[in-house]
Symmetry: D2
Subunit: 341 residues, 4 copies
């Protein structure tokens, strides 16, 4: 099976490379980068020396159309321009950017501040959260791979919203992300000396993952969702920890609810009562660990959900989707054990 | 003015030493430590070489009773046993531990898991949050210096609770602390290899700072407070960031409310609208910076509040209280500019 | 093939577990720990949830004698006491501690400050550096797995010492280690707040890895070795970077010398001229990357050598030795790609 | 006394601002920045809120000529163009960049890769290392403030080179710097996700601080200096640790030699025998701490020297020079105690 990657120089790209190089069924045909065309992948990423022999190729000259599957690991706004030709040629596409995640074009254009270049494909795109859309993913030609915050947040809220046992008008998601979530961009705020030994919230007035989370939960709960979403930049490389708050409006055995919901999910791990998941317990692995608390037996439920933003929050989930689309074992190439310490 | 410190080997102790050594009115007479008695302070803390000439002395042999003021920078449960004799001798005491913070003895004993050894002094103790109790502090003999989380959380909620414009039954405080907040204890969970590049919540079922925060806010608002408090361990040395959520029940110009409330406070800085305070902007300085947000113009208010847990959350606030008690300029010895980067 | 681990609660132990759980030929029979006996391995190390089903067992009640191979991941001084019975029973042993590394018992006792409990087995022990002793390792019953600093340092000096082209009386190894090299010990100096945002040398008067490195190089070069070895504690979890200095006494194409020496080594990667290896380029993988420099065309050669101290410096090298001992592919279970970022 | 800063947006600039704002004799008149002209200093650096009321001004419109002293905290190549007019107008100048550090213009041009724009002022510039040039500094109009590595390295080697007791043809300086040493530049290699949990050497073939160190030591020892200088990037914000190696050619009481040399130096602290200085013991303070070792009683001396690269390695040393130039107490404004932890 031939696979191409568009935009292989970011953190999502190098993580895709790491995982694909260890996948039993994949032959990597092309990795494109306008800026690095001609450079050996392993020169840019020495961690891949001896494991990836490709050079970055220019997107225009690459034979992406010969691939069975193309991943877009590009900034928002690229896939919507370049995917159409591939889709028309019958290539299957997994877009790790946000271009096809929001079904309401106007809403997308408002939050992303640009005109959508490929609106006619949005309806066919399947939102690639296997825990919700497994069957649709198998049949999809175009996958909108979920964002990192949306993955951790939705997996934490889903059982509650589906069961209708909490006040869905006033959900709160307090999310903390490692710095790699911001991508490999030369910006002052992402410098070691700015982000290290420091903690801050950002985007409190409104973050682009808000409409994505709301859309997913509204679909799951078949109800309107009111959500306050506050992301924070955390001085670690990988990992997202979301602390979710919901007002209970119908009593339940919440622990059992979560265990039941995810009983057959290979990549969601509901921890025993009283647990506090750590981000390092999922480092470099495709798993979401969740704990459910009801502090002081009050009426506010607290759900803790952790993922590695680059794996279950990006590249790993993309491989999981690929496995489903091509009929492989859903876990193929995703058996890495978390690296701890 | 003669000052003593009981328990000078923890992070709060060394921070007290750093600040006191730069205070214009203070002569440091004794620093006690059972474990390190006889060791030069600067041998244990080389950062103090040339600045503190004392040796740690045994608490029993120290002439603490000759001091005008004694700080307790001890684990919970020590000050309540040793402060009585000093108080009886007329020495003034600032206790940085939790021993005298909770006015309801039974509540204290429930949360701290021990019998209180000095209940008769609790009523006289003044809770040392100058922004609330400035006048009482001036006259106090015994100060219960607030905890780090309670300082950041109360300063963030106070204007709202005093104004009565939010639903005080369902406050949420999502708090993130640097590792120094846990003290200088040789425990596995505080090791570099456990706490670094990692993020986790802890104490979700119940943390000892919960009753302290509730007590303070109930007194300020003259109402019952319902609070969900979730602390998190953050891979940084210093700093607390609290993200506070409150449901609005009466519209207000919240920015103006906060600016008005803290207009004359030397150590509370209300940031302009739209700001996101960073913990490093207060590193090593006695200041609390606060920003107020109302995301998406909804009915949930978000307050961001940062302090250095060792300064405004402990040793700096203790000096602020000392300045008030002894009639010094409230800012004396506390003019350090935050160290950034 | 049945494998046991004695002392599975340290960082070397959990890394062994991570690697062994992914090895195709291994059945893990027992993991012992006196302190944690009865506790599920995955309760102590949540990263292993769903991957290791064992509980820690008491060393005395464990059926280690039924194993084909037992790893000791214990503090120095334990293996020399417990390995004898296993060896007598015909079990093969890989000791990751220092007990059998030094062939001169008196020298060992001087540096390790205790009497050796099993001196009669030292001569049979094979020093498990495959790049030097591959054939002896295949046949060995008892492997003394090299220390982390000695692995990085010897691999960097070996080609020079073997070729006899540098002044071996005055070698300098300036080594920097991540904190996990110190083990999982609740000591103040290893706390996050002590080791983070900080850098220091330690053990400059003499470190236990000095005699081990000297012994290895003296054997390789068949000459006396004079070595100044200065280790440093670096604020990162994993990784060793050694900067090696040697005075040239015979000109050579040093780049070619290194490439030739390691041409057939699966786990040593000689970088192109001008390279600066980063520790993260080997994170969580069993590889040593080396670069050779001759600054300013002077007479001092600088060799840079990086490993992950827990993998090529401990558990990974132990698996590499196991593969050799049991006739598996030398790379079996060691194909993980470094995790970066 | 009126002071201006050219280029106040880097880490050296903000550190100058922090220190100058606390200096008793200084009035800050202008801080220039082409890019940030019109922006309040405290908007860019919230740590300075309430302490610095200036806005960044455009260099062309600033009245720098009215200042008594102007600091250049600019990238290399700027001061040599802009200082001439100020010097001609009688303003005194402290240049924190490298423009006036090397007396041999050709050598400077080779290492810095540009033509020098103001060669006629080089001879008058005084190299601002007070421990060597105190008297010349008092009288100087133009100070070339030393680099960070050169400060730590020269202070560590000076007593040995002056005494002539080591082999000055083969000195080795293995230096480790926190990331702030590279400045506030939006470059990929300085991103949190690249520099964190990672360690690497850089510039091994040749680093610009090499000729500066050699020049200083050659002048001090009145001899030719051969130096191998290897800098490393360390995952911490502030701090330099140099590990210096020198072959002994004449026996000495080296501890006494260092203590004698620095007996009257207010900002050099020679530690007791056997010490290992930590970078955090000098964090945010203007001090260099040094320890001297002779491992295994061999013929190689090891000197450990630590500074805060932004203070004694840049802004603090600049203030020390200012104090000397203007007849203030040499320690004025430099009494901050290191911040630890």
């Amino acid at each position: 099976m031939k696979v191409g990657i568009v935009g292989g120089t970011g953190y999502t790209g190098v993580e895709l490379l790491r995982l694909l190089a260890q996948h039993p069924n994949v032959e990597l045909s092309a990795v494109t980068s306008r800026a690095e065309a001609g450079v050996a992948v392993s020169d840019l990423f020495p961690s891949l020396r001896g494991r990836i022999d490709l050079k970055f190729s220019d997107p225009t000259s690459s034979s992406l159309q010969d691939c069975d599957l193309v991943f877009f690991a590009t900034p928002n706004g690229v896939a919507m321009q370049q995917a159409r030709a591939l889709l028309d040629a019958g290539v299957r596409v997994i877009d790790l950017s946000a271009d096809f995640r929001i079904t309401d074009v106007a809403l997308w254009e408002k939050w992303y501040g640009m005109k959508h270049a490929c609106p006619e494909r949005i309806a066919q795109a399947v939102y690639g959260l296997p825990e919700v859309n497994r069957d649709k993913i198998r049949a999809a030609q175009l996958i909108a791979n979920p964002g990192c915050y949306p993955t951790a947040t939705q997996l934490g809220f889903l059982p509650l919203v589906e069961a209708g046992c909490v006040d869905t008008d006033h959900l709160i998601a307090d999310a903390k992300s490692g710095v790699s979530g911001a991508g490999r961009k030369a910006e002052n705020s992402l410098l070691f000396c700015e982000a290290s030994d420091n903690f801050k919230a950002y985007g409190v007035p409104g973050h682009r993952h808000l409409p994505e989370i709301r859309q997913g939960l509204e679909s799951a709960g078949n109800c309107r969702i009111g959500l306050t979403f506050v992301p924070h930049l955390t001085p670690m490389v990988r990992g997202i920890h979301t602390t979710l708050y919901a007002r209970i409006n119908r009593d339940e055995d919440f622990q059992a609810l979560f265990e039941r919901r995810y009983a057959n999910e290979p990549f969601v791990d509901v921890l025993p009562p009283g647990s506090h998941p750590e981000t390092r317990s999922v480092r470099a692995a495709n798993v979401c660990r969740i704990a459910v608390h009801r502090p002081q037996d009050g009426d506010t439920l607290v759900v803790l959900s952790v993922i590695d933003n680059l794996v279950k929050g990006a590249a790993g989930q993309a491989l999981q989707n690929m496995n489903l689309m091509f009929g492989f074992d859903e876990c193929a190439g995703l058996a890495q054990i978390p690296v701890s310490p």
